[in-house]
């Protein structure tokens, strides 16, 4: 016998879940509209952005590009070659081989004729894995440095890279990333235009699977072949490109992807580099930067540029994708827990009062609510707390609103950057926006809940590795059919947010 109060409670809970979905999607919509404004603003300014002047100027701030690499054999040569072809006046590439067990270092040594140098590496930020040797390219010793170290994880590799870096700006790039030729100019530009205030600048990550990569450059942008990847393309557009641009416009950007972001080196040294013990070390770094600068009352900006972009390989199986999302969500949970003092604390301005509470409410809790709805709605039907009509309309509104948000993102992409030139790809994007709601979101929500649960229990974090196909040099190659075998569990350099 089910008491009436139980039915009432379920009814109220179902309505509360509905209100939550409406608020969640409304917040996405607001961010996407803000992003649309920002893109429009950006595009109106391209004629006087001054990229060529910046490229020609001897005074453009030099950048150290730090590339952490763990078992990146399949793609490391193409990645480094692509980075050497970036359009930027002065930069060095610091590849940190984090104890790879494959041929990553041997390939680099052979390709770039590396010579070992007894470099003194300062200990400006703490590191764990011992540096085994430092090598430079014989032909370009000042511009390509390869550091071999004991395995210590991505954060440790980046910290070693920070210590080795010689330039005032550091750019963190994943070894599987392919940057647009002007990408470095674009992300470094805010530092030149507003040198007294810009502390960090994030760049956009798009999905490379399906695109044709020649000589380390994406020359033909296409939708991937698998629907799992197509759905991720739409998701990246909505959540990362538009979401982060929206947050940047609000002055509340708290995530810069470790796969592509530029920071002032002196600030990273001051805050002690990346945290070894947080799985979302890139996002944690930005939150800690906010924490540090806000506490000192410094006038600063953390910004995001929407174009050009870095292209990254996305997981092509649900299993690997699930692990990635579990890790990301665990990262969010750990960061919010570590910096909980900032939440709703006026001392931290928009970060404390808007961005972090939003992350608690709409990022951390969203998968819990999604799964809760999946359980409580049928339960409500079963005990007659709600009727079938209510359940169907509830689902239609909740998922319909989600679809509207994704379509808005696709529309803004179409009128702004329109990176997918084929009409068929446009149609695929529209279909992917629909099918995302059937199974994809729900399965990922389960992985996310598992990730947050792991953080709450304080379980030892284990990184999953993503088997990489690598990017081919000529002849043109298409990136990525799904990997055939199960990846080896180890510290990898899969972007922790992108």
């Amino acid at each position: 016998m089910i008491e009436e109060w139980t039915r009432d409670l379920l009814r109220i809970t179902d309505v509360a879940i509905f209100v939550y979905f409406v608020l969640l999607n409304s917040s996405y919509l607001v961010l996407i509209v803000l992003a649309g404004q920002e893109f429009f603003r950006h595009l109106r300014r391209t004629t006087f952005a001054g990229a060529d002047d910046m490229f020609r100027s001897p005074l453009t701030l030099p950048v150290s590009v730090i590339v952490p690499a763990y078992n990146e054999g399949p793609g490391i040569i193409a990645a480094v070659q692509a980075m050497t072809a970036l359009r930027y006046p002065r930069y060095e590439i610091v590849v940190v081989d984090d104890g790879s067990t494959d041929e990553t270092f041997a390939l680099l040594q052979q390709q770039f004729d590396l010579v070992e140098v007894p470099k003194v590496v300062p200990a400006e930020v703490p590191t764990r894995g011992r540096v085994l040797s430092v090598h430079v390219a014989r032909a370009n010793p000042e511009t390509l440095v390869v550091v071999r170290k004991e395995n210590g994880g991505k954060a440790d590799a980046l910290n070693v890279g920070l210590n080795v870096a010689r330039h005032p700006l550091v750019c963190m790039v994943d070894a599987d990333s392919v940057l647009d030729p002007d990408a470095l100019l674009s992300v470094a530009k805010p530092f030149g235009d507003d040198p007294l205030r810009v502390a960090a600048c994030g760049g956009v990550i798009r999905i490379a699977n399906g695109c044709t990569v020649v000589g380390g450059r994406v020359v033909d942008v296409r939708m991937p072949r698998s629907w799992l990847l197509r759905v991720q393309v739409v998701e990246y557009l909505r959540a990362f490109l538009m979401g982060r641009t929206g947050w940047s416009r609000l002055g509340g950007l708290v995530v810069i992807s470790g796969a592509f972001g530029v920071f002032r080196r002196d600030l990273l040294v001051r805050i002690g580099g990346l945290d070894h013990d947080t799985i979302g070390e890139d996002a944690e770094l930005v939150v800690r930067l906010h924490h540090y600068l806000r506490e000192r009352g410094e006038d600063y900006r953390v910004v995001f540029v929407a174009e050009p972009v870095s292209w990254s390989e996305a997981p092509s199986t649900m299993r690997v994708l699930g692990r990635q999302r579990r890790r990301w969500h665990r990262g969010i949970a750990e960061i919010l827990s570590k910096h909980r003092r900032m939440i709703l604390n006026p001392r931290y301005g928009r970060i404390g009062m808007v961005a972090l509470p939003y992350y608690v409410l709409f990022e951390l809790l969203a998968p819990f609510v999604e799964l809760g709805a999946l359980v409580l709605l049928p339960l409500g039907l079963w005990i007659d707390a709600i009727n079938v009509d209510f359940a169907i309309r509830f689902a239609l509104v909740a998922y319909g609103y989600g679809l509207l948000v994704s379509l808005t993102a696709l529309f803004i992409e179409e009128v702004s950057f329109h990176r997918y030139p084929r009409a068929a790809d446009l149609a695929r994007g529209l279909v992917a926006a629909v099918i995302e709601n059937f199974g994809y979101r729900q399965i990922l929500a389960a992985y996310q809940v598992y990730g947050a649960w792991g953080a709450w229990r304080g379980k030892q974090a284990v990184w999953g590795a993503m088997q990489r196909e690598g990017f081919s040099s000529p002849p043109p190659a298409v990136v990525g059919p799904p990997p055939a075998s199960e990846p080896v569990p180890a510290a990898d350099v899969t972007p922790s947010r992108d």
Binding site: Y88, N140, R393, E414
Partner: protein
């Protein structure tokens, strides 16, 4: 509640349908527009290329006679050409732009209410290198929008009129200053005629102005100001300015810089200044400073020891001998910087490569 749901579903269905149509329409319209623009621009683009290939000797009238729609479609290509060609071809192309009234329109647009239009106009005037517009562009250095000021700085640099130097420096002395590196870059483009202005501004009360002047003097190679720069290195109250003075003395490369740099290198001074002085002595090729640099090789401050070692590797056999002495004398834990510098010397890199292979304008 059900009624609210029903209304919401209807609204969502309509909006989703409208958005889907809008996405497809945007694609269709954009593609059609791009085709039309491309067709319109094709002939003028050919004329433009032929014109600059011919150093602008023939075809100017034809370019001026191009219809407004076709010119607008081809204008981005024409502006890009302005940045790529020099000499007669550049002057002839500027003349075409002027005859089409582009310069006049741009000068008028400098007073537009929209900051984007003002910035675009400033960019155009810079591209045209229109000296008559220098006064207007200088006024734009006080614009309330930072992005407009930045474009004005770059435009003034491209035009290269030395008279703009003071106004550029003044733009640094405000609560929301123009970016120092951009101003330095523009000042350098104004050429050696601004050296007197820059030297005089070394007494400016604003440290940012003094630092920019020093950087610009260094890049201009204003060797005549070395004594003045040395005094700044010795006496300026701001550390950042003294560091800039040390770097400038290194770039100027005159013997007058050696003694003040060696003085700045001594223990007791801030580590950042000592590191800058060490680096400058290396750049300057100051063989007489070998002993001073050698003394810093075991310095506990990483940057000081590092810069001293790498300065020595630029100083020829004497520097190399000093590094070798250090390696021979020190225990393995202490001779690290010298060993590193010697290793770099062994692979033949006395000077850092300015750009990566494969990178070019």
């Amino acid at each position: 509640m059900l009624r609210i749901f029903t209304i919401a579903i209807a609204v969502l269905a309509v909006v989703i349908a409208v958005l889907s149509v809008a996405i497809v329409s945007a694609r269709v319209v954009r593609t059609a527009r791009a085709r039309r623009q491309s067709a319109l621009a094709a002939a003028p683009r050919k004329q433009l290329l032929a014109f600059v290939a011919d150093n602008g000797e023939e075809g100017a009238d034809d370019l001026v006679a191009i219809g407004e729609d076709a010119w607008r479609a081809a204008e981005p290509a024409a502006v890009a050409l302005l940045g790529k060609v020099r000499g007669e071809a550049h002057r002839a192309l500027v003349d075409v732009f002027t005859r089409r009234g582009v310069g006049l329109r741009a000068r008028r647009a400098l007073r537009d209410r929209s900051p984007v239009r003002r910035a675009r106009a400033a960019q155009t005037l810079g591209d045209l290198e229109l000296r008559e517009a220098v006064g207007d562009l200088c006024d734009l250095l006080a614009d309330r929008h930072a992005e407009v000021r930045i474009v004005a700085v770059r435009a003034l640099g491209r035009i290269g009129e030395p008279g703009a130097a003071w106004r550029l420096l003044a733009s640094l002395d405000r609560s929301d200053p123009t970016p120092a590196l951009l101003v330095t870059d523009a000042l350098v483009q104004l050429g050696p005629d601004v050296e007197v202005t820059l030297s005089a501004a070394l007494d400016h009360p604003q440290a940012r102005v003094r630092a920019v002047c020093l950087d610009a003097l260094g890049l201009l190679g204003a060797t005549g100001t070395a004594g003045r720069v040395a005094r700044v290195l010795r006496d300026d109250p701001e550390l950042d300015v003294r560091i800039a003075a040390a770097a400038t003395l290194g770039k100027l490369g005159t013997p007058a810089g050696i003694a003040p740099l060696a003085e700045a290198l001594r223990p007791g001074r801030p580590a950042a200044l000592r590191a800058a002085a060490a680096k400058a002595l290396g750049e300057l090729g100051a063989k007489s400073a070998v002993a001073d640099l050698e003394a810093q090789l075991g310095d506990p401050a990483y940057r000081v020891a590092h810069e001293a070692a790498h300065a020595l590797r630029r100083l020829g056999p004497a520097g190399r001998a000093a590094l070798e002495r250090r390696v021979a004398a020190a225990d393995p834990a202490e001779g690290g910087h010298a060993r590193e510098a010697l290793a770099m010397l062994a692979i033949g890199t006395a000077d850092p490569a300015p750009v990566l292979a494969g990178v070019g304008p």
